[in-house]
């Protein structure tokens, strides 16, 4: 993971083609949501030790935001999917 990411659109790519945005489990609250919900969305992170999902932007490739599911200790990657696909599923 720290070396190579398998982009679902471009194939195996080195880390330096990406920028990392952070926790991909967060869902943007509705405009009317509570202050606390907004605070948690913008500022609080589960920061798991182990399996996590993270947004990697393939900025030098297809320019897609990818959801990379991986382990924060072993750095093993479990899956990489397109961010829009994941977002649509989360909204469902």
């Amino acid at each position: 993971m720290a070396s190579l990411i398998t982009c679902p659109h471009c194939g195996v790519r080195p880390k330096e083609e990406f920028t990392i945005r952070g926790d991909a489990s967060l869902v943007r609250p509705a405009p009317s949501a509570s202050d606390e919900a907004w605070h948690d969305y913008v500022y609080v992170r589960a920061n798991p030790r182990g399996r996590t999902v993270e947004h990697w932007h393939h900025v030098a490739g297809c320019r897609r935001f990818l959801v990379v599911e991986r382990d924060t200790v072993t750095h093993e990657v479990y899956s990489v999917v397109d961010g829009a696909t994941a977002a649509r599923e989360a909204q469902r």
Binding site: M1, A2, S3, L4, V12, P14, T19, R21, A24, R28, P29, P31, A33, D35, W38, H39, Y41, V42, H55, H57, V59, R63, R64, F65, V73, T74, H75, V77, D82, G83, A84, A86, A87, R88, Q91
Partner: protein, 985 residues
């Protein structure tokens, strides 16, 4: 030919004599030598001085684990300090210098530290040098720093070049010894893409100093045959002189190839070193095993070497380590060395075996002392004898070299670089590699297989298995025939009791057994604590020889197994790698790419001075003959724009085309101001926030068609804004029908500003661009006379009547030239970003000097742009937080010095008159300043607490950093044309 060169044998070319110097002394070696073997051949045993006590030190090893024989190679800007003589390939003209000695290697004043050693035990410096406090930096530290360190870095510009390259393979084999070669051959024949990397300049590893035969011929000849076959295979890449230094995630390996470190005059075409990043589906670690030194009194005397190294020098380099060589061993290896030496006619004075019983046979006539221990050594700068203790009796045995062998440890460094810990093996009496999965497997001696036949078999078998895993068909390899194997056993011996003088564990850092005792006594018994407290294993060899003994000694003292002590962490780099190699070609002007505007050549032609702006070069100002300072040019440009007209290159702005049925909705959510109802043919200033409510970027949004927008960003944030838009479109609102792409490079964009801008521009355009037809904030495509498709925007960053004209980038230069031509009669001038900055400053327009990531729209006086009516946009919700709306926030104001002749500079802070400077009293800071030629004085934009209520107040501009203080009046930040009369003219 020289004192210690054997008359025959070895893989050196006796017909190629190479001259070199050591400490200025001319010496001669042979092609195929390392510097170390050549020095030994020349009886130059003393090579360096140790770190702490400056003890004389000789060559210990024949490879990368060398702790002592460190030299500086080359001179001037081509110096390579701390080079291990044992891996430096000899070439004609090589110059080597010894290190860490003064005035000379033979006589080193620093050696006085040795006499003080009782006071300089591990960690002594933590306990003293504290009084008086001021003396640390003035006296103690400089003395310590001067005494410490090894070689000297010249810190001059390196004349040589470096590069990096990627490689992909099915199988990476690390190490080209028997196991590695056999694995590469097996996999290569099966058709796998194979890379074999070996740090040596000659492939073969231990085969090169092996005395046994393979398939009836000498081992080196076998290695040569295998290498020849590998070279003939297209799918195999052989990398000699290449050290694999690191194992990273996803089975990516870092390796450094010394492309031409071994030549006197490097070719300018080639890099001196090349870093390889190798992505391997599978890897085999065939890195062999490391022989362990024995920790006995006087074990650091020059002449005391690893037994294996003694063999290597004799067999591979045809050099005898001494004229009379003794062996001290805890296993069979010492006997092998003795047999090899005897076969070459070298006198073996004795074999001292720590074991009471052993089946190993010494060469005929060589005395064997079992249950023996060396407790001291004699000699000054070269060994002259050893003191052997047996059953309480001591005996002095004369010898001028000693080979020591404390058994073997597999070299498993790389396998442990990704978090897995080595595993103690009682069988091997060593730490072995952890199971790290299929990606990386250990083979041969690195896997604890210590027989030649076993290594060949292990290599072949593992390669066959890997081939099968990857779907290749590997025929069962025909294994070469080796001689009957000898028993490779040894007894673990961490410390030889009865030492009569210091028994060193870490040679380079001068850590001896008693230091470890002291560490344990003081509570530093954990292996990491012991390392950090004593510095054992922290030298340039990273403890390749010493760590295992340190662990064993700690285990012995603590009364536990080495397994319970464990090891320190293995980390990259396996051996040190130069900055240059890792940096590759990214240095100096190529440290980052350079972006050039399509108007770059035009600006150059008009004499522009350029300035960096991120990756871009931008034209800063255009000096004319007679102008002595940049200020003169900038003042002229500003005044000319205000009075006549100017042309400025703004091509570096980020430009994004946004399409789609939901494009308006998308932008409306992206910007804090309302954009939904922006009419076609109109542009609008737009402000983007971060989700936390602070300003992210600003720019313009133009609607070219119902579902087609053209967006500009600041130069600095172009990339970040594009990424932000990607995020919003893909992750936040994936169902919006919107698509966009960057066209930053497609358009050359120029601002034409000044009262005569329209008169100039109209000459290029048939369409009417009068105020009535093309008013302020008009935006649309049009065709220039001559047929160029262009876009024209009536926007202004100067407060003047202004247009921004975009044309396809290739035409930028020609169009700009045409405008200059058309404007000549109107007094047009080119102006750069400096004048642009003054113009916007006079008008109170903002840049990222103001938007520093901590500013809200209201802070910046742009609160009216914040559209509270919109249901949602990025940053809306959190903008309502107390801290972002508090009345005492710093707000944008203008400042004018009360005394018109005084200047102010950005970065100054603000204080109420009469108040003492303190963090509490800090009232704000200046974000931008400049000299306004229009007002004839300096002006500034500043952020001031509750600033908008304080117009008219006198405030102290406090620039203590530059010892500058003036009083200024707080005012509205728009200094010129507050009614926007000129803008809309």
């Amino acid at each position: 030919m020289s004192a210690y060169r054997l008359s025959s044998g070895g893989l050196v070319d006796r017909s190629k004599v190479l001259s070199f110097t050591f400490d200025g002394r001319p010496l001669r070696g042979l092609a195929g030598d390392t510097l170390a073997s050549a020095l030994l051949a020349n009886d130059q045993l003393l090579v360096g001085r140790s770190f702490k006590y400056h003890r004389p030190r000789g060559i210990v090893s024949a490879g990368p684990s060398e702790p002592n024989a460190l030299v500086t190679l080359g001179s001037g800007a081509r110096s390579d300090p701390n080079t291990k003589a044992t891996v430096a390939e000899l070439y004609a003209g090589l110059t080597a210098k010894s290190q860490n000695r003064w005035p000379s290697l033979g006589f080193d004043v620093g050696a006085v530290n040795g006499l003080l050693s009782p006071f300089l035990g591990a960690g002594f410096y933590y306990k003293t040098f504290m009084w008086p406090r001021q003396l640390w930096e003035k006296l103690y530290e400089p003395v310590i720093r001067r005494a410490a360190g090894l070689g000297r870095a010249v810190l001059e510009r390196d004349p040589e070049s470096y590069e990096k390259t990627w490689a992909f393979c099915d199988l990476l084999v690390v190490g080209g010894g028997p196991a590695g070669l056999m694995a590469a051959l097996t996999a290569g024949r099966a058709g796998l893409r194979v890379i074999l990397a070996d740090e040596d300049f000659r492939l073969g590893g231990s085969l090169l100093s092996e005395t046994e035969t393979i398939d009836g011929s000498p081992a080196p000849a076998f290695a040569e045959r295998v290498v020849a076959e590998l070279l003939s295979l297209d799918n195999v890449t052989l990398l000699s002189r290449t050290t694999v230094f690191g194992w990273y995630d996803d089975n990516v390996f870092g390796a450094v190839e010394r492309v031409q470190k071994h030549v006197a005059e490097p070719s300018a075409k080639l890099p001196t070193e090349r870093v390889w990043r190798i992505a391997a589906k599978r890897a085999l670690l065939a890195t062999g095993a490391e022989e362990r030194p024995l920790v006995f009194g006087g074990n650091d005397r020059p002449g005391v070497m690893m037994a294996g190294a003694v063999s290597t020098y004799a067999e591979r380099y045809g050099v005898s380590a001494g004229k009379s060589v003794a062996i001290f061993t805890s296993g069979s290896s010492g006997y092998r060395t003795a047999r090899g030496l005897a076969a070459k006619g070298v006198t073996v004075s004795a074999v001292v075996d720590s074991r009471a019983e052993a089946s190993d046979a010494a060469p005929d006539g060589v005395r064997v002392i079992r249950s023996g221990a060396i407790v001291d050594t004699k000699g000054r700068q070269r060994l002259s004898g050893i003191v052997v203790e047996r059953s309480g009796f001591e005996e002095l045995i004369a010898c001028d070299a000693l080979g020591m062998s404390g058994g073997w440890s597999p070299v498993i460094h790389l396998a442990c670089q990704r978090g897995a810990r080595p595993v103690w093996s009682e069988d091997l009496k060593a730490f072995s590699a952890p199971d790290v999965g299929n990606g990386l497997r250990v083979v041969g001696s690195a896997n604890g297989v210590y027989t030649l036949g076993g290594c060949l078999r292990d290599g072949a078998e593992k390669a066959t298995a890997i081939a099968a895993e990857l779907g290749f068909n590997a025929a069962a390899a025909q294994l070469p025939v080796t001689e009957p194997e000898t028993d490779p056993s040894f007894a673990a011996l961490w410390y030889v009791p009865g030492a009569k003088s210091k028994a060193f564990v870490d040679f380079q850092n001068d850590v001896h057994a008693k230091d470890l005792g002291l560490a344990l006594r003081e509570g530093f018994g954990h292996v990491e604590h012991a390392k950090r407290y004593t510095t054992s294993g922290m030298a340039t060899d990273q403890g390749k020889l010493s760590n295992i003994n340190a662990v064993g000694i700690l285990a012995g003292m603590r009364g536990v197994s080495p397994a319970a002590v464990g090891t320190t962490t293995f980390r990259p780099f396996y051996t040190p790698v130069s900055f240059g190699a890792l940096a590759g070609t990214s240095r100096d002007g190529h440290a980052t790419p350079t972006r050039k505007s399509p108007l770059h050549e035009w600006a150059k032609k008009h004499g522009a001075t350029f300035v960096d702006s991120g990756l871009w070069f931008r034209s800063a100002w255009f000096p004319r003959a007679g102008e002595k300072t940049w200020r003169e040019s900038v003042d002229r440009e500003v005044l000319n724009v205000r009075a006549n007209v100017g042309l400025c290159d703004v091509s570096t702005l980020g430009k994004i085309e946004v399409f789609g049925a939901d494009a308006a909705e998308f932008l409306n959510r992206l910007y804090c101001n309302a954009l939904l109802k922006l009419p076609v043919g109109k542009a609008r200033y737009g402000l983007m926030l971060r989700e936390d409510g602070f300003v992210f970027d600003d720019g313009t949004v133009s609607r070219l068609a119902e579902d087609h927008f053209f967006v500009t960003t600041t130069t600095a944030m172009a990339g970040a804004v594009m990424s932000h838009m990607d995020y919003c479109a893909q992750v936040l609102w994936p169902d919006l029908k919107v698509r966009f792409c960057s066209v930053s490079d497609q358009w050359a964009q120029m601002a034409i500003a000044g009262p005569k801008a329209r008169d100039v521009l109209q000459q290029l355009i048939d369409e009417d661009i009068s105020e009535a037809v093309f008013p302020f904030l008009a935006a649309r495509s049009m065709v220039l006379r001559g047929g160029i498709h262009a876009r024209l925007f009536r926007i202004s960053f100067s407060g003047e009547l202004a247009f921004e004209l975009a044309v396809p980038a290739g035409y930028g230069e020609a169009v700009a030239e045409q405008i200059m031509e058309a404007g000549r009669a109107h007094g047009i001038c080119a102006y750069g970003v400096e004048a642009l900055n003054v113009l916007r400053l006079e008008k109170g327009l903002l840049t990222h000097a103001e938007f520093d990531g901590r500013v809200t729209p209201d802070d910046a006086g742009l609160g009216r742009m914040f559209s509270a009516q919109k249901p949602d946009f990025i940053g809306k919700h959190l903008s309502a937080r107390y801290g972002l709306t508090a009345a005492d926030r710093m707000q944008l104001v203008g400042l004018k010095p009360v005394d018109k002749d005084k200047d102010m500079r950005a970065g100054a802070h603000l204080l109420k008159e009469g108040m003492k400077p303190s963090t509490l009293n800090d009232q704000g800071w200046i974000s931008s300043t400049g000299y306004s030629p229009v007002l004839g004085q300096h002006i500034a934009l500043a952020f001031l607490k509750s600033g908008r209520e304080r117009y008219g107040e006198k405030i102290v501009v406090w620039d203590k950093l530059r010892d500058h203080e003036v009083v200024a009046e707080v005012c509205d930040p728009v200094f010129v044309d507050p009614e926007n009369k000129k803008l809309k003219a």
